[in-house]
C-alpha cells in the first residue's frame, strides 16, 4: 500500500467575508489515525473538504501522497464520508453501494466480494435489499461508511463518522479503524466527542480556522497542563481568547 501522507500548508479558505480557515497547517503521517477536534464552525469540515479535493483554498497548498490536490489519479486511493449521509433513499442499500463501487472501477465478482465484506464489517448483512429510506439513522451512517470503505482506500477521510451510532457499534467502528491503520491506511476524522479524541494517534485542536495544537493526545494535555483532552481544549481556547482580547 502506498504511503498516503497528507500535507496541509498555510491553508486559508474564505466564504464571502468570513474566513473558515486561516493559515491551517497539518502534517499527517501515513498509517495513523488523526482526529480533528473542535467546536462546530471551527473549520473542521472545511479542512476535510480541502483535503478531499472538494474545495480549493484561496491560499496555501494541500498535497496527498506528494500530489497537489485535487488530482483525479488520487481518487481511487481516497475514501470520503461526508457529514450528511449522501445516499439515494429510493434505492436499496445494495444498489447504493453497487453504484459507488462501480464508479471506482470495481465491477463484477470483485465488486460482489468487496461489497459483502463491507456489509459484514458495518453489520448491515441481511439489510442489503431494504430501501435506504426505510433505514434507521444509524444504518444510513453505516452504509455511508461502507461506501467510503468499499474500494479499499489508503486514505480514509471521515467527517463525524460516529454521530448517531450506539456505543456498542461505535466501539466496533474504532476496532475497525485500528485494524485499517495497522494495515497501513491513513485515517483522518473529525469528532467532537472527547473520549474518541483520546483514541486517536494524533490530535489536532481546531478553533476559529486555526490549528491550536497538534500532537498525541497525551502530549497535547501535558503541554497545556490539563488532566484530559476536554480540559486541554477549553484551556487552549481561553488562551486564544485572551490573546485576541489583548491584541484588540
Amino acid at each position: 500500500m502506498s504511503s498516503m501522507n497528507v500535507s496541509v500548508r498555510d491553508v486559508t479558505v474564505r466564504f464571502e467575508k468570513r474566513a473558515a480557515l486561516s493559515g491551517a497547517t497539518l502534517e499527517i503521517p501515513p498509517g495513523s489515525i488523526v482526529g480533528l477536534l473542535g467546536p462546530s464552525g471551527a473549520g473542521k469540515t472545511t479542512l476535510i473538504r480541502c483535503i478531499a479535493g472538494l474545495l480549493r483554498p484561496q491560499e496555501g497548498s494541500v498535497t496527498v501522497a506528494g500530489l497537489p490536490v485535487p488530482d483525479r489519479s488520487l481518487a481511487a486511493r481516497v475514501g470520503y464520508m461526508a457529514q450528511e449521509d449522501a445516499l439515494y433513499p429510493d434505492l436499496t442499500g445494495l444498489q447504493n453501494l453497487r453504484f459507488f463501487t462501480s464508479l471506482y472501477g470495481v465491477r463484477g465478482p470483485a465488486a460482489r466480494e468487496k461489497m459483502s465484506a463491507v456489509f459484514r464489517l458495518t453489520r448491515l448483512e441481511g439489510e442489503e435489499n431494504k430501501r435506504v429510506k426505510n433505514y434507521s439513522g444509524g444504518m444510513r451512517k453505516r452504509l455511508s461508511l461502507a461506501v467510503a470503505l468499499v474500494h479499499g482506500p489508503a486514505l480514509l477521510i471521515l467527517d463525524e463518522p460516529t454521530v448517531g451510532i450506539d456505543p456498542v457499534l461505535r466501539a466496533e467502528f474504532w476496532d475497525e479503524f485500528r485494524k485499517l491503520r495497522d494495515a497501513g491506511t491513513t485515517l483522518l476524522l473529525t469528532t467532537h466527542v472527547m473520549d474518541e479524541a483520546d483514541r486517536c494517534d494524533r490530535l489536532a485542536l481546531i478553533f476559529d480556522g486555526r490549528v491550536l495544537a497538534y500532537d498525541t493526545p497525551a502530549e497535547v494535555c501535558r503541554a497545556v497542563g490539563a488532566k484530559n483532552t476536554e480540559e486541554a481544549f477549553l484551556t487552549l481556547r481561553a488562551r486564544t481568547h485572551d490573546r485576541e482580547a489583548a491584541r484588540a
Binding site: L54, A75, F99, F100, S102, L103, G105
Partner: protein, 349 residues
C-alpha cells in the same frame, strides 16, 4: 464511458422504483394535452340564431342545418333574446336588406355566426338556379394546401404544445433531481470518485434520456393516434426533433439547478425559462408582434423545435428541409451540457 453507463443505470433504477415520478412523466403530459384539446375544441360550433320577418324558405332550411333557429315575433323581441343571451344573433328579415345583430362580446362567437351565415348564403344560392346563374361563376372556391377544412385551432398549436409539454416535464424533473444530487451530498460523493464531471453529465443525459424517450413516444402516439391530430410528416423524424428537445430540457434543467438552493427556487425558474417559451416560441402567431418580441423568440430552443414540429406535422416537410432547426436545438443542448460540466467542475475544487 462505463462510469456514464453506471450513472445512467442508477438513474433508471431510481426512477423505475419511483412510480409517482413515472406517472408524472407519462400521465401528466397526456392529461394536459387532452384537457387543452377538449377546451379548445369545445368552443361553439352551432350558434343559436333568432329570426324575425320571413326569410326565403330555402334559406331557412339551410340555416337550420348549421344553427339552432329561434323565431321572434318582432325585432324588439329578437333583440331582447340576444340581450338575454338566449340567442347569439338576430337575423332580421323585416327590413330590406336583412340585418344581422350580434351580441359581439365574444369575438369567437361573432366569427362562428359570421361563418354560419356565409355558409348558409352560399348553400342557399346553390339551391336556386337563377341566383346561381347570376353569381355562381364568380364564386371563389376554397382550396387548402395543408390541413383540412374541418381542422380546428388545436391542430395548429398541437405540434408546438407537444414540444412544450415534453420540454416542461423533463426540465422540471432533471432540475429537481440534479438539485437533490447537490443538496444531499451525493454529487460531492460522486466527484470524489474517479468519475469525471463530463461522465456524470453524459450519464445523466443517458439515464433521463431513456425516460424522456419513453415519454416522448407515449405523448407522440397519443397526440397523433388517439386525439387524431394530423401528422403528415414521418413519425420517426418527428421523434428525432422531440428527442433533441428533450436533450435541451435535460441539460438546461440540470444547469439551472446550480443556481437554486432548494426545490422552491427551482420553481422560480419557471417564469424565467418556461413561461416566455410558451408565449414567444410559436404557440401564438408572432408575425405581427413588435420586433423585440420576434428577436426574443429567437433565443428560445422551443422556437426552433416548435417550428420544425409544426412544419413536419402540418405541412409534411421532411427533416432534410428543416435540418437548420435541428442543428440549433442540438447546439443549445451542447452549450448547456458544457456549461453544466463546467459548473460541476467548480464544485469539485
Amino acid at each position: 464511458m462505463r462510469n456514464a453507463l453506471s450513472i445512467a443505470r442508477r438513474i433508471i433504477t431510481q426512477i423505475g422504483m419511483d412510480t409517482r415520478t413515472l406517472a408524472l412523466l407519462v400521465i401528466a403530459p397526456i392529461a394536459i394535452i387532452t384537457l387543452l384539446w377538449v377546451v379548445i375544441n369545445g368552443g361553439l360550433s352551432t350558434p343559436t340564431i333568432a329570426v324575425t320577418g320571413a326569410p326565403p324558405e330555402a334559406f331557412r332550411t339551410e340555416l337550420e342545418k348549421n344553427a339552432k333557429v329561434l323565431d321572434a315575433a318582432t325585432t324588439e323581441e329578437g333583440i331582447q333574446l340576444v340581450r338575454d343571451q338566449k340567442a347569439d344573433a338576430l337575423l332580421d328579415y323585416s327590413t330590406s336588406p336583412p340585418k344581422l345583430t350580434l351580441d359581439g362580446a365574444d369575438p369567437s362567437v361573432s366569427a362562428v355566426v359570421g361563418r354560419v351565415i356565409q355558409k348558409t348564403s352560399l348553400a342557399f344560392i346553390s339551391t336556386n338556379p337563377i341566383l346561381q346563374a347570376m353569381v355562381g361563376s364568380n364564386q371563389p372556391t376554397i382550396e387548402l394546401l395543408h390541413g383540412s377544412a374541418t381542422g380546428t385551432a388545436f391542430e395548429f398549436i398541437a405540434p408546438v404544445m407537444m414540444g412544450f409539454v415534453i420540454f416542461f416535464f423533463i426540465f422540471i424533473l432533471s432540475a429537481i433531481s440534479f438539485l437533490r444530487e447537490r443538496t444531499t451530498g451525493t454529487l460531492a460523493r460522486i466527484l470524489v470518485t474517479p468519475a469525471t464531471p463530463m461522465q456524470l453529465v453524459v450519464g445523466y443525459m443517458l439515464g433521463f434520456g431513456f425516460f424522456a424517450a419513453l415519454q416522448t413516444v407515449a405523448i407522440q402516439l397519443f397526440t397523433i393516434w388517439v386525439l387524431g391530430i394530423p401528422a403528415v410528416g414521418s413519425f420517426a423524424e418527428i421523434l428525432v426533433v422531440n428527442l433533441a428537445l428533450c436533450l435541451v430540457a435535460l441539460s438546461m434543467g440540470s444547469f439551472v439547478s446550480a443556481f437554486a438552493q432548494n426545490e422552491f427556487q427551482v420553481l422560480q425558474f419557471i417564469p424565467i425559462v418556461v413561461v416566455p417559451q410558451v408565449l414567444f416560441a410559436g404557440i401564438l402567431d408572432l408575425r405581427q408582434s413588435p420586433l423585440w418580441v420576434q428577436v426574443l423568440s429567437r433565443i428560445f430552443p422551443l422556437t426552433y423545435a416548435g417550428h420544425a414540429l409544426r412544419e413536419m406535422m402540418l405541412r409534411g416537410k421532411s427533416l432534410g428541409e428543416l435540418w437548420l432547426d435541428l442543428v440549433v436545438v442540438l447546439g443549445f443542448a451542447a452549450l448547456f451540457i458544457v456549461l453544466n460540466a463546467l459548473s460541476i467542475r467548480r464544485v469539485r475544487a
